[in-house]
């Protein structure tokens, strides 16, 4: 199941694990990314807390945790080559996997059509 946040993240839900990345819209707005910083595996994230940082030539932006959970895996490929986030933001360029504290919280997130309405 694919969910979205108003902070321009996508979540692919499989059981109690969510794979998290930033949306195509966000990647387009950010422009060419040159640096990505990911959380540590094992980090406990709190919804709306800082989870990762992305930087374009122009500026840095925070990526927030979409839900409470523990980071179980991070995508080193986007740290090694941040341009992957621009070329495949909703595929190969996922950011991290989160073992959700309360998987049912995901129900409250946006579905794809609600997110599309949001970005107009």
């Amino acid at each position: 199941m694919l969910k979205f946040t108003a902070e321009h993240e996508w979540l692919k839900l499989e059981g109690d694990v969510a794979t998290v990345g930033i949306t195509t819209h966000a990647a387009e707005q950010l422009g060419d990314l040159v640096f990505v910083e990911l959380p540590e595996v094992g980090a406990e994230l709190t919804k709306d807390g800082n989870a990762a940082t992305v930087e374009s030539v122009k500026a840095a932006s925070d990526v927030y945790a979409p839900l409470d959970g523990e980071v179980t895996e991070v995508n080193q490929a986007i740290v090694d080559d941040p341009s992957l986030v621009n070329s495949d933001p909703q595929g190969a360029a996922w950011f991290f996997k989160l073992k959700l504290k309360n998987p049912s919280d995901a129900d409250a997130l946006l579905d794809e059509s609600a997110y599309k309405d949001l970005i107009g």
Partner: protein, 398 residues
């Protein structure tokens, strides 16, 4: 990330309070003569120094930067102020301007240009500018954000001179290794000019003033064009497959790699020219002991900096890791909060350097290239190496 962050990405220097002050939040932003062209080219527009300006085109900052270094890029810098200073003679106007600007203007030959700055009474810098000997008068080009203040300053202090802002001219910068070839396709005289030469030319029926200069570290030209001919002129250059339009985003990363100061970030009223490592711009004749030493605002302070050496220095800073270190990051001697020593004044990712680049101020004792300092970024202390500027090898045609 949130909407505010996404929006901020479109503004230029989000961390820089000084630049934010220059952003005009009124709905009546001014437009340059190329505004309609920018929109038709799909530019993202941002408010900058009271103007609605292109920060990037669909190509994006990274590719625009590399395009300029590999072939050529066309920049709209019409927001900058082009000002005529006219006295009873060139010497008269030059002598007057030397009371505000500590560089050798009297010794500038006709058709030559040089860099300078207006100093403040405390020895700080009010603005930086380009000065041209136009035979019987001076042409100066000042920063957009400072132009009203500079005009008032010159009108108040250049006794007997007529100071006129040219409101009906655009200013284009054509930068990059193929700039000469492109301009020469419209005007053969381009090839005969060297760095800092200034010539008149009639191009496409327009009376242009051409200087071989720019702010990218590349060879190139700045072309003053009558406003009503600017779009036709820009389109003629952009028609060439080697030329692309370049926004303010890439202009910033290009000038930073070239080690060039951005007024409001790297220099301002709190930085003396010697602290800013700009003493190269003060010719011997205007330095302490020179024939025309002093006689400008803040001369005593600047003489003291020359005599005793400045307390701090603007230096190049190369972050050792991959993370960009941005303007206003605090610098430390050690990787701990006990020893703050200065601040980063400009920092970004340098597309040609293929890594982060920065400039900032450190105590003179730590200004030697090779010295390691630290910057706090998101709670971490990242190592940077003091590095000679520029980060790239400029290709000016000397």
């Amino acid at each position: 990330m949130n909407r505010a962050q996404l929006r901020r990405q479109m503004s230029l220097c989000v961390y820089c309070a000084a630049w934010r002050l220059f952003l005009d939040h009124s709905p009546t932003l001014k437009q340059t003569p190329l505004h309609a062209l920018h929109l038709s080219l799909g530019a993202k527009m941002v408010p900058f120094a009271g103007y609605d300006m292109p920060v990037q085109y669909p190509m994006g900052v990274m590719k625009e930067h590399l395009q300029t270094r590999a072939a050529s890029g066309l920049f709209d810098v019409s927001h900058m102020g082009q000002v005529i200073v006219r006295g009873t003679s060139y010497e008269d106007a030059a002598r007057a301007l030397e009371t505000l600007v500590p560089v050798d203007i009297l010794g500038l030959k006709p058709g030559r240009q040089r860099y300078g700055f207006f100093t403040a009474d405390n020895g700080g810098i009010l603005d930086d500018l380009m000065i041209t000997n136009r035979g019987d008068h001076l042409l100066v080009v000042v920063n957009a954000a400072c132009k009203e203040q500079d005009l008032a300053h010159m009108k108040a202090h250049l006794a007997g001179c007529e100071v006129t802002l040219l409101e009906d001219r655009a200013l284009l910068a054509l930068q990059g290794p193929s700039a000469e070839k492109l301009l020469a396709s419209l005007w053969a005289g381009a090839a005969d000019m060297i760095f800092m030469d200034v010539r008149d030319a009639s191009i496409l029926g327009a009376d242009c003033i051409i200087s071989r200069s720019g702010y990218s570290g590349e060879d190139g030209f700045e072309i003053s064009v009558p406003a009503d001919k600017a779009e036709e002129f820009a389109k003629a250059l952009l028609a060439h497959p080697e030329c692309e339009p370049i926004g303010l985003g890439a202009r910033d990363s290009l000038r930073l790699e070239a080690g060039l100061c951005l007024y409001g970030n790297d220099i301002d009223t709190t930085t003396s020219p010697v602290e800013a490592s700009l003493e190269w711009a003060m010719q011997k004749v205007r330095r302490p002991g020179g024939e025309r030493a002093g006689g400008y605002p803040g001369a005593d302070r600047i003489a003291e900096d020359f005599a005793t050496g400045p307390v701090r220095r603007r230096v190049g800073l190369k972050p050792e890791g991959k993370a960009p270190v941005r303007a206003h990051a605090v610098l430390y001697a050690e990787d701990s909060p006990e020893s703050p020593i200065g601040e980063v004044t400009s920092g970004t990712f340098g597309p040609s350097v293929e890594g982060p680049v920065a400039m900032g101020y450190v105590p003179a004792a730590l200004a030697e290239p090779g010295t390691r300092v630290f910057a706090e970024v998101r709670g971490k202390y990242l190592p940077l190496t003091v590095t000679a500027l520029p980060f790239i090898t400029p290709t000016y045609k000397r």
